[in-house]
Symmetry: C2
Subunit: 331 residues, 2 copies
């Protein structure tokens, strides 16, 4: 790595002259600037970011804590985060908590060691289930700035980005009802999170509004991937239904596939919808209509929020809670 010192030596000037020349300070002669810049170019000089960070307490780096990168939703959020962070001149230090609180604590420790300006987190399911947010509280006390996304918690005061889960599922359910559907099976592989209960509320709300009876046996729990196929098969074989709504990224694809195997004659009459994006919707045929969660947008918004917060030096900030719009994409 080329350093200022080396440039200075080669050019027979002082380190500070080189530093100033490179930043186009107006107290350096044009001639000198030119010489300095040329040599810097030739030697492919890049300022050492560690030194800059140490000096200025600004790292231009964002921490990102993601529960599960194998979940396409989080992968897409990460994509949005990266894209936006890059556009704004930030790098990302990424940690995957693997849904456990301990890994999350470690991650935040790492992120606290002066290496980031702030972080973006969606808490692990374990954290949410045990309601153990002490590490985030601690971060807050140490004035470390962070933004929560997707799995947001009401007890933590900070900036948040999510979708309106209840509304998203309400709209999708209503979309089905308006197509004349009334015997709708509800699929979820999401563990016991706020998101999950909000989504179910949206489902119930829509049924209620349209005077449709809630039937507990029409709500399938597919958390366990090993038994999911069996659960769906059993349901398909022994119930009358005319639509399916999945509140995660996978279950609708699965359901449709089983439907085609066990009741092929019904495929055209039964409408399936799930959370997805334009690409994953096409894994199924016919392609599934889907609830577009705008995961990329969530990531972008999270980045905007954290950068805004980083730049905001006020002591008593008013936190923002952004709801990214979702929409039903009919294919």
């Amino acid at each position: 790595m080329t350093t200022l010192k080396q440039l200075a030596k080669l050019l027979n000037v002082s380190v500070s002259t080189v530093s100033k020349a490179l930043s186009d300070a107006d107290d350096i002669g044009e001639e000198t600037k030119k010489r300095v810049k040329e040599l810097a170019e030739t030697l492919n000089y890049k300022p050492n970011k560690l030194a800059l960070g140490l000096k200025s307490n600004v790292t231009n780096t964002l921490g990102v804590v993601i529960p599960d990168i194998l979940n396409p939703f989080f992968a897409e959020v990460l994509y949005g985060i990266q894209k936006q962070a890059n556009a704004k001149g930030y790098d990302t230090l990424v940690c995957i908590s693997n849904e456990t609180t301990q890994t999350e604590i470690n991650a935040i420790q790492l992120l606290k060691q002066g290496r980031i300006d702030g972080f973006i987190i969606s808490p692990a399911s374990q954290t949410i289930q045990t309601n153990n947010f002490t590490h985030l509280e601690a971060a807050k006390n140490e004035r470390i700035k962070f933004v929560m996304f997707d799995r947001v918690d009401n007890n933590i005061q900070t900036d948040k980005v999510s979708i309106d889960d209840q509304k998203a599922v309400f709209s999708a359910t209503e979309w089905l009802i308006k197509k004349g559907k009334s015997k709708i099976v509800y699929l979820s592989n999401i563990e016991n999170l706020n998101i999950s209960s909000d989504r179910k509320k949206g489902f119930h709300e829509a049924l209620h509004k349209h005077n449709i009876q809630i039937q507990p046996e029409f709500e399938l729990n597919l958390t366990n991937i090993e038994t999911a196929h069996k659960t769906i098969e059993k349901f398909i074989k022994s119930n009358h239904f005319d639509a399916a709504i999945a509140v995660d990224n996978n279950s609708a694809i699965m359901f449709q596939s089983l439907l085609k195997s066990f009741k092929p004659e019904l495929v055209n009459q039964i409408t399936c919808i799930g959370f997805a994006n334009s690409k994953t919707s096409k894994l199924a045929y016919p392609p599934l209509s889907y609830i577009n969660q705008n995961a990329t947008k969530i990531g972008e918004q999270a980045v905007d929020l954290i950068i805004e917060r980083i730049k905001d030096k006020s002591d008593n900030p008013t936190y923002k809670e952004i709801k990214v719009a979702t929409d039903v994409v009919e294919v």
Copy 2:
């Protein structure tokens, strides 16, 4: 952030005493050590990693450049990288190249600014298609250590981790043939990469070995997601076939779904196999047998290699090229 200086002041000792006490140096009195450690604990002192990095030229951070995080394969590799890096005490600075060379160049620039000890990269498809590896050559000249994975290039001398693409597809094809299949359709959505041609070679090799004629119209190009369904539909409707092999992560799921729609009577007679993992294989019903690419393992191996290389101070290293074993998982 608590610093050594602050601790020193509070304890009325010097900075160097604190530093040594915390690292258990044997020239510091037990009593002092105890006092220092207690206060450090209370104030939740964490050494500033930037300062450590600046001082020691060791960052314990790995750069990771990934072409496409929405591809489940790369997501899983990233998972493996994170897991292993963490286990070995490294953090990861992740960049997504989005399949373009320019982003990749930027990423490597970022990674070069003294922030990482080495990086792990799978080149963008653009980089490979234009055969433009100057940025990697440059990195090599600057003695920056890196490991290539998956999309490895013969012209770059460095450590590499990949699967034996030809062999993997050969084995899977042969697995189909041994089940009595001979009219096998070949599906690929992979752009023109080495991987792609190696996989096709494996396919041809197996056909050849078992005296099966190669039929170009049995090799479907599904690169364009918009036309993929149509292409498959047309094929299914107008050809006799008894098996399908997909050399990517999505096409087999898609193919099976279209098959069930257009030739449901054949589903039980036609065997589909694709690259997948235990989870994605279950998106289809019946679950697909799959070629297990061991993406997690690839990530882990890449981390092991880069760490080994970082620790190796020799001038003329012998580079390793690891082939991770694949296997056909019959469901």
